[in-house]
Symmetry: C2
Subunit: 413 residues, 2 copies
């Protein structure tokens, strides 16, 4: 039974995580939030109070922290008495925060893979480059470290595990589909940090096909999907974290990730990329100023958090599993539909942040209850899906399934 | 009879000007070239020697100069004994260089209107904002200052004057059409300094219609043109220098400028502009670095001079005059077709630089001969067109005319 949560990162996802922790503080204990910019933490705390979101009276405190500084993070964990750390800061911080957790014994949760700022799209499987190198270290110190516990990666991994176990004798393929059918009303914006967002699409696209790593270019392969609620949608084969764990952990010969993009998004992205404006390598202006083009693009784009008030429409994210059941071909699509406006009304963030943040709190609750306090490093598909899906149902991300032409809720017992 | 030329600016146009001056140095005397970066001048001089372009033995020298520094420019004019200054540097320099010319008595030639770096698209007529305020000063000191003596503005103004005088009793409209049907093989590039190039299209589009200034948005008004050699081309109503002098000096009720753009150019431009990346106002990155987005875009785009070796195809730039002759509607299209590859072979620059630079040298030759040494400030349409068109024929930019369905060369006597 662990308690007291330190949330690292005060962006849109941090906002969701803190709100959801507050709504469940009778189970989670004290809540602390830390960011380089303490004012961002204070704004989130103010919004929690504004919505009267704390379930019971309890600590809710802001801290200034550079989470690349392991010693400072260790001090803050000790000072706050946090036994669970939810890391939703920049992907560049993961390994530092993990080190601080190992040193203090606080359970670690993140929602996206570790990245080196200087590298894009490293050798697959990505988890083997940083995270899995530290599996033994976690095992030795009995540290619970849950990797990629957002929606995708995270919930979709659990969907895959749940469907494979429950409905299939043999699985041929896992396809994860992520469609944001929402509208923010701006000319162009990314739904989270543009620097991280664009990095996803500037390298090669790795997928796992016929039990081999296959490389494609971004926007090279697309497929039409007919999905619940959001309807017919075009999505593109995209490199994504969960392909790099599911392929290694579930023994399925085909694992692919598909993300929906509008023609407008692709056009803007293509122009920026073709001109070299998405480069993370510094260039020099005629006046001699050294600058990273991607950081300039980030500076002119809308702050993703600013999109929330006007965001409308729904997301549909799910896992399609195909294989055999009782000797016959079978398929199941396990999914969730989230609504941008509802998310904003509840926690002041748009739906993309909501779907990423809520599962991390579900994971924290399962560590607090002991169900997921596994005292080792684990990707989500290595953990029992039932308690996770139950928590998600309760926390506002209900699971549904389409199977044999029937669309029904999933309520695992 | 003036001689010895100082060329200010060592970009693509400077390269053309120096080559053409060298080819005519028996008439122009010593040739000097100055730029902030003296190495650029030296490279141009090397290319003149490489092509053996000096007509006769004579001085050809490079100088480092910040032409915003009037005193330094005065010193260089005196030191070189230049009696003609051809200013093909940045548009931000014009008024400083003009001051140095007034102080020394050296004749002044430029090819584009003066611009204030902090302002875009000022009140029409643009010439009244800076240049024409100094008409009296030039008159008093007997200074020859020829404004806008490139191709457009410049040659097209002379085409207008020539056609109005030679073929019309009454003129209703002057439409200048600028089509570059060339291909440089890059994803995207501007044909001259991107900072100046984009500034042309980010403000409102001023045209002179029914004897009034009319404002449109860029890419709002387009028209299909069927032109000699380059064929059917779509061009857009665009703000441009010559509209601001022809409208005031020739008494014609409609003066418009049309520039051809590919759909691809418009798309890239629209994306960059919509995102705020063409702004000349500084922004601040998340890391606190202050930077002007337009300067970053300039830094990632190809150097316009680097396009020359691969540039293929032709430009067609001309003036369509419509009105009455002997009581009947009449129209005349006076134009030139230039070839990118030929320009590169002759002077090492692409066709856009060639068409801009050659007319300035024609103007210099007419000042040297006395024909245009008018000892006052003048736009090109205020000067006799015949000697100019004769020089242009001789220098590689022959004039043709389409009239009464007949396409024929113009060789004014």
């Amino acid at each position: 039974m662990k308690k007291n949560v330190l949330v690292i990162g005060a962006g849109g996802v941090g906002q969701v995580v803190v709100h959801k922790c507050a709504q469940n503080n009778e189970l989670l204990g004290d809540i602390h939030i830390a960011s380089r910019t303490v004012e961002k933490c204070q704004r989130i705390i103010a919004s929690v109070h504004e919505k009267n979101a704390l379930k019971t009276h309890g600590a809710l405190q802001a801290h200034a922290l550079d989470a690349l500084d392991v010693a400072a993070t260790v001090r803050l964990i000790k000072q706050t008495g946090a036994q669970i750390v939810i890391n939703v800061g920049s992907s560049f911080l993961n390994m530092s925060v993990l080190s601080a957790c190992i040193e203090t014994g606080a359970a670690y949760i993140d929602t996206a893979i570790h990245e080196d700022p200087a590298k894009i799209c490293e050798t697959p499987p990505w988890y083997a480059n940083y995270e899995w190198k530290r599996r033994a270290e976690c095992e030795r110190s009995g540290l619970t470290a849950i990797l990629g516990a957002g929606f995708d990666p995270g919930v979709v991994n659990s969907y895959a595990k749940f469907a494979c176990d429950s409905y299939f004798d043999r699985v041929q393929s896992i396809d994860i589909v992520d469609i944001n059918a929402g509208r923010h009303g701006r000319y162009f914006a990314t739904n989270f940090d543009p620097e991280i967002n664009f990095r996803e699409f500037t390298g090669q696209v790795w997928s796992w096909q016929n039990s081999k790593w296959t490389s494609n270019k971004m926007f090279e392969v697309s497929r039409e999907w007919n999905l619940p609620v959001v309807g017919l949608q075009k999505a593109y084969l995209t490199g994504h974290d969960e392909v790099h764990s599911l392929s290694q952990l579930l023994g399925v010969p085909n694992v692919r990730f598909w993300m929906g993009f509008s023609d407008h998004y692709i056009n803007v992205f293509t122009v920026l990329k073709s001109l070299g404006l998405l480069s993370e390598q510094p260039i020099r202006t005629a006046e001699g100023l050294q600058v990273v083009p991607l950081k300039v693009v980030k500076a002119v784009l809308p702050d993703p958090a600013s999109l929330a008030p006007d965001y409308e429409g729904k997301t549909c994210i799910g896992t399609l599993v195909e294989g055999e059941r009782a000797g016959k071909p079978h398929q199941a699509f396990v999914y969730n539909v989230a609504d941008h406006k509802q998310a904003y009304q509840e926690v002041g963030s748009q739906g993309i942040s909501y779907t990423a943040g809520v599962p991390a709190v579900a994971a924290a609750l399962l560590i607090a209850s002991g169900e997921w306090d596994v005292r080792r490093m684990a990707n989500v598909e290595e953990l029992p899906p039932q308690p996770f899906l139950r928590q998600l149902n309760r926390l506002g991300l209900p699971t549904r399934i389409v199977q044999n032409g029937l669309d029904s809720p999933v309520d695992p017992v």
